[in-house]
Symmetry: C2
Subunit: 424 residues, 2 copies
């Protein structure tokens, strides 16, 4: 008796799931021993389904009809956003039906509530597609590294940002022109804010950190910076020093506290993450026994996301008879370290009128805050009156660097706010 799957949402991802379940049912049945059948698709607009042979599939405009359909044993929520997605998931879980979702925003904001509903009802809630698209990063952390203490994870989790930064790096183009081109070519949403301001990456960071560290993490406590302030010059200066600029989510666990932040980061060009280009995503995980692993693939897109959703469906089907696993375990909740307490290396781009003694004054201020300079590049004037000075610090404290930059920016010969970037 095949297991029936219901798909709420017939958009890009939902359509991909429909296509995959119809196209590869036989091969997947052979490989897994489990026969999974597309039973029902619900959306307000189902015109996208006209491309498929839906003769054996129920189609409706009402998610509740789908949830209550007795031929549906597993529900996929693929409409995204907070409501009505949250209500639909809770209703399915409360009806005793396992749920698969790709909804990172909902998990990041209401993960605890959804987790509680899944546990209370003794059914599974799976979300591989929420983070890293088809990359099996959730499964790797949950299952492959189950017996490991995960020390850190960091990576590229937004394909739009990585696409823009990759083109800026290899073409020398500026942010606005690449973004416009990316939108024209379907590599960036319109409006692009959720991607380029770092929020989408922060949602995924919240999901990964909660899972990896078995800890409740408040989305608002994650430090988030996007890529909108990155200039073609920053990209070029970073390359000159042997780095590429990537938007990273960085998560660390020192045992007592957790670190979770999202910001543009200088990555050494020989690092594997530097080779993660264009719309691809990649996540590094470091754990006590497995050491470093990298997980790479397409972080978005119709077919790759569908692949992850359907993998979760098969995981649930393959586990029939076993005890349901909670989507998250929060048994080691610890506080997030404030950004100001962290230490790392910094890239500072100063814009200054080209006066003698500039570098001396700047370095004196940095020194007074305990920030030492590892290297320095003074560039020729970038316009008639101002020059760029690029400083790379040794490891320094975030608060100290921020205080120093505030003092530096008050100097009379500094003509623009100093641009601060962090180094991996």
């Amino acid at each position: 008796m095949p297991l029936g799957v219901g798909v709420i949402g017939a958009g890009v991802v939902g359509g991909g799931v429909v296509e995959l379940l119809l196209a590869n049912r036989t091969i997947a049945h052979g490989k897994t021993g489990v026969d999974v059948r597309l039973a029902h698709v619900a959306d307000l607009n189902t015109t996208a389904l006209e491309a498929f042979d839906m003769t054996e599939v129920a189609v409706s405009n009402d998610a509740r009809t789908l949830i209550n359909d007795t031929s549906v044993q597993i529900v996929c929520e693929l409409i995204g956003g907070i409501e009505p997605a949250r209500t639909f998931i809770l209703e399915a879980l409360n009806a005793g039906k396992p749920v698969v979702t790709a909804n990172k925003k909902l998990l990041a904001m209401h993960g605890e509530e959804l987790c509680e509903a899944a546990v209370t009802n003794g059914v599974e809630l799976r979300y591989e597609a929420s983070t890293g698209g088809c990359i099996p990063i959730i499964k790797a952390i949950r299952e492959s590294l189950a017996a490991n203490r995960i020390e850190q994870a960091y990576g590229i989790l937004n394909g739009t940002c990585n696409y823009i930064l990759t083109r800026m790096t290899f073409e020398g183009s500026d942010f606005d022109s690449v973004l416009a081109d990316a939108q024209a070519n379907g590599f960036a949403e319109t409006p692009p804010d959720l991607d380029i301001n770092g929020d989408d990456t922060a949602h995924k960071c919240q999901v990964l950190a909660s899972l990896a560290f078995s800890s409740k993490i408040a989305l608002d406590d994650i430090h988030v910076e996007g890529i909108t302030k990155i200039t073609a010059q920053d990209v070029a200066y970073a390359r000159e020093m042997g780095y590429l600029i990537k938007l990273l989510a960085i998560m660390r666990d020192d045992g007592d506290t957790i670190e979770a932040r999202v910001h543009p980061t200088l990555v050494p060009e020989e690092h594997l993450l530097a080779a993660v280009r264009y719309e691809f995503n990649g996540v590094f995980v470091k754990s006590d026994f497995a050491d470093a692993t990298l997980h790479y693939g397409r972080g978005a897109g119709r077919k790759p996301t569908a692949s992850a959703v359907v993998a979760d469906v098969f995981d649930i089907a393959r586990r029939a008879g076993a005890k349901a696993e909670p989507p998250f375990v929060y048994d080691r909740t610890r506080p997030l370290r404030p950004m100001g307490d962290l230490s790392m290396r910094y890239y500072l781009r100063l814009t200054t009128r080209d006066k003698p003694g500039v570098l001396g004054k700047v370095c004196t201020i940095l020194g007074a805050h305990g920030v030492s300079i590892a290297s320095c590049i003074q560039k020729e004037k970038h316009d008639a009156d101002a020059a760029h000075v690029i400083l790379m610090s040794w490891e320094a404290n975030e608060s100290a660097v921020q205080a120093a930059v505030q003092e530096i920016d008050a100097l009379p010969f500094i003509t623009e706010p100093t641009h601060l970037l962090r180094v991996l």
Copy 2:
């Protein structure tokens, strides 16, 4: 009631599993909800266990005692080799106990027999650690890509070879000196044959290809070449043309036939696999919905391998109550394409007395066999009397290239057999 694990073999990997089960039992219990207890360790030599607190663990010198121990619910076979490993695994399966193994050679040679025993007894046989160490490549193929048609997989599956080739690449050293140094530093076995002749990679290739393509594959049908003939000059010439030399296992499925081969391969330097360095492994998988994914990590070593073994143990424990899954499904067995039928690009290093007209004659022979030349480098004499000519072909048929090389090597001015390498 905790689940008891028995470990046969207290060597490098077995010792790592003991250490991991003792060190991270609590954290793993918290993360998975499953309490797994080290119950019994058996080996002829158990002195390595003196480093651990074994007060609550049975220790014996007899694997059969362990298999029959009623406190053991899951058996790990970590002694390697064919016998007695094969017998122990069969006995455990026949006793109705699931087995976890890291034994690629045994799987490659007797996988069908072990699979049959697992299926007959309705228990699981898991083998994540057999291929790629802690990299969850078996799980990715089996579970994350369950609904995908896997089109190809290729990668670096032997850390010793990759370590040697990486050092040859970055130090310009020759094979013998790097191998000796690698042995002295514990990065290569003594004798190193199984690694450097490609057999270990072929075992893993057999395992991955069987799983990925749901097909029976005879180990002997896999074309295998090792890295012993790679010279420092080959490495340098390849770099000059923008390639790194890596030992790859390459598997493809065109629907009707399967391709499985192991040989040194020129990888473009911008390819992610070129960034997989030293003892690390990396596997690319391409499938119809997920597209390209890369799986990277430590392919060997005490702790990473232990991580993979224990992940399998937890997978079995977490699946308690669910129907046992077969280790392999052979429902689409298809023939392997003979090596001679394949087409790809080739690197040819000719050693020739420096006479006028050499290149003309060589290219005439290649042309007669349908092999076109994409680029050519003629190097200065590498000794008093001979020069190297490096040719890079366009895509050509393997048999045709082999026939052409045979003719070329019979030319009077060719002083050494031509060295042929394949390009990714």
